[in-house]
Symmetry: C2
Subunit: 477 residues, 2 copies
């Protein structure tokens, strides 16, 4: 099934409007968001590769055209245009997996006004959701302080692609494995799986259920111990089975606890396992976990070796949508791009005009110190100042005044070309590489920005020229 | 892309375990949930048709088998079995669109233990999400008291299918239209679309933008009036354009307000439109709406004719997952199905054993009075009592005792066969028919159960025999 029609009807009606009013117009659109999800201090940019693949394959099949024709809204001339349509714009984007911040243009689309408008819903759908979940996962993984996080969300995810895209994004955000077999196949994400209560219930006794499982899975054997009574039946039965299985030198033996007071049960189970000489048996915990619960368990020292996290990671749970938007930033008039602004009574809804890039500053220890949103046309000049180690005066919205940047040793432009004339120019990269970029990005944030509650605000400045341009456009409206 | 691998790895590992331990076993599984989403009084069952279509087309392609083989977990013999696999079970389900209640078996699967286990993740993924969103939509639609609700969720939905499935479920729950063009094509859902701020920003002035739009869309013209200043610029410009457009006798003229104090702005805009002799121009409102905001607007009498609802409907927002589960209810032993129970320390997690159905009782005015969960094998007997108008003694969990049902004039078993030997026997029905069933179902609930805050609990009883069976199984464990 083609997804060219996966667009809000108004994109198509506006597109037709442009077709008749100004079909040669060109424009630049930015995708950005205004606040971090989860009251956090950063957002992980994800979804780029799936977006590029969707854009490069946008075509309207005859059945799509027939359907649109049946709506009696579209003129034949426009439908003919659509049947030959393919996306031919240029796209710049931040590299997938990097932390990004409010108002930064994370995807920049330049192309015909019509095509750039058409893709709005698709850009937002894919990037909003994957960035949301990569961010959530990175919070969960951060809270687990090195213990693996296994993503188990398929059964509660929001639809089929809600599950698949969430598995992909969770892995980028730092999850170690997924239970979703199809996600494993598509992206090479390591798979993880244990057993369900139904397995245990299927045999005459819990012990037989464990024995049967261990006879088939001698090398990696994770037993779910809470079907009946965790400490009186589950753990003792697991101990019996593992004591025998041990002779086969399995690469993994673990119990999984899926209910009750995880902290107390894990401690008691750990003692029982250790006393039985099974110090090598790991303890997995699951049961409505999120970053807050994991932080509590980790800080109290619960002897849990890995966390299975589902619903509360793959749906975003306490903040189930990143509210990214896609707005006109510039319009081509007589061969030149002119900045465009959307002004709102709510000043935080006013857009930053112009064709922009983001420059990220790093301290010599690798820590990110600040981002600067600037005009693409002034970037060379700014980069030359940076290369010469000159102080840079920039505008700070929160200070309502200028700030001078001196404490940096390196700077890098974040928006890079990923698509030219509708063709993908960004080389595909393994998901593992994106995951590593994400981990590096998060570790270069200060711990005060990274923390899950009351984070510090990472500084994002705008260049003085951009700040003046914005004021002028507001003034001259 | 096939979705046979859209399953948790553990379903496949358990399946292989059963393959070697007990491949001829048969079982009955129930899908049910334990609490309504949104602290509501009912849940709308949705997702059945997509589930049946997925089940009937489950096949493992060679590339799926190759992938599984590469994991080094699966034996050749089992993989050979999988490559010839198709689902051959029987499925009973509630009719799509009906209200359902905690612990009721809403989908009942009978088949080989292996195949019934395999499909767990798929059943839960599809039904959990669509039921969640149909329920949310019905709450939003209920709050709007007859004003159309337009679903605009694509850009913030959880992935591509998160959007498509949400459009389908929202329509079932009572939304009048969607902005998602592909959802319109697939299911024939009416489409709705207006314009974005980018349209307005694209022209030298708001007035020109409106004029251009009206010149292309003379018959249905909805103008977005809040790009610059709603009351000083947007509404006056819309009035000028509509005053001219009126001569063409359009079928719809409306303004859309997407920000600010919707109540105050709608009242002021209504006055301005009326004073300009444009009483026929409708007012649409959008902007982070949900059932609570709509209830407030409606009860205060804001002159809004239709609501555009996006993020907070299609993600579930305040409760983004229905936590349905899928549990063994019975196991075939020597040609007879024997009940199975999962007992938990948390009594609300203990399952209801046996092969069951739901009988729904109606008052003579059509109102639903109670549901009864009973064993399939006692159903004929109960139905005969009902036909003869005899009082029925049933067990009430909340009263911890028996209750006698007398006040009913009709009763109907809710679980009906929808799939036999892996083939769909339920006739496909237009989505509109499911939507109407949903509307009838909701209207047959008392208003105290239907209300969005602090609803009354709709009574769901279990038969005395089932109640005794459960006690016995707990006792004899």
């Amino acid at each position: 099934m083609g997804i060219s029609l996966l667009t809000d009807l108004y994109e198509l009606t506006m597109m037709q409007g442009y077709f008749f009013a100004c079909r040669e117009d060109e424009a630049v659109f930015d995708m950005f968001f205004r606040r971090h999800p989860f009251n956090g201090g950063y957002t992980i940019f994800a979804g780029l590769r799936p977006l590029l693949e969707a854009l490069s394959s946008l075509r309207f099949a005859q059945e799509d055209i027939d359907y649109l024709s049946s709506l009696n809204i579209f003129h034949k001339e426009f439908l003919n245009y659509l049947s030959a349509f393919s996306f031919s714009g240029d796209v710049h984007a931040v590299e997938e997996g990097l932390p990004v911040f409010p108002y930064e243009p994370i995807v920049r689309v330049r192309g015909g006004l019509m095509e750039a408008q058409l893709i709005e819903s698709l850009v937002l759908n894919i990037v909003n959701f994957q960035s949301l979940i990569a961010t959530k996962a990175s919070r969960v993984v951060g809270a687990s302080e090195g213990r693996p996080v296994l993503e188990f969300g398929l059964r509660r995810a929001q639809g089929i692609d809600g599950a698949l895209a969430a598995s992909r994004a969770s892995f980028i955000g730092g999850a170690s494995a997924t239970s979703n077999t199809l996600a494993g196949k598509i992206w090479g994400i390591p798979l993880s799986g244990t057993m369900a209560h139904s397995w245990v219930m299927n045999f005459p006794s819990e012990r037989e259920a464990f024995e049967q499982y261990a006879s088939v899975y001698r090398d990696r054997c994770v037993l779910l111990v809470d079907t009946y009574d965790t400490l009186r039946s589950g753990v003792p039965n697991a101990i019996r089975v593992f004591s025998t299985l041990k002779r086969h030198n399995p690469s993994l033996m673990a119990i999984r606890i899926d209910s009750g007071d995880l902290d107390a049960i894990a401690r008691a189970a750990r003692r029982m396992l250790d006393e039985a000489g099974l110090a090598e048996v790991k303890i997995y915990a699951s049961s409505d976990l999120d970053e807050w619960m994991i932080q509590t368990l980790v800080s109290s020292g619960a002897p849990i070796d890995a966390f299975g996290v589902g619903t509360r990671m793959v749906t975003g749970w306490d903040d189930p949508a990143l509210t990214g938007v896609y707005k006109v930033a510039a319009k081509k008039i007589e061969k030149m791009f002119h900045p465009r602004i959307k002004i709102s009574d709510q000043s935080e809804k006013t857009t930053i005009p112009g064709v922009k890039n983001i420059i990220r500053f790093y301290h010599k220890d690798g820590a990110m110190t600040a981002d600067l949103i600037c005009l693409e046309e002034e970037r060379a000049e700014i980069e030359s100042l940076i290369r010469n180690g000159m102080p840079l005066t920039v505008y700070s919205d929160s200070d309502r005044g200028t700030v001078t940047l001196t404490d940096y040793s390196e700077a890098r432009a974040l928006l890079v070309p990923v698509m030219a004339h509708g063709g993908i120019i960004k080389e595909p990269e393994p998901l593992q590489a994106i995951r590593e970029r994400c981990a590096r990005g998060i570790s270069s944030l200060s711990s005060s920005v990274r923390r899950i509650s009351n984070p510090d605000i990472y500084p994002v400045y705008v260049s003085e020229r951009l700040s003046h341009m914005k004021e002028e456009l507001i003034h001259n409206r």
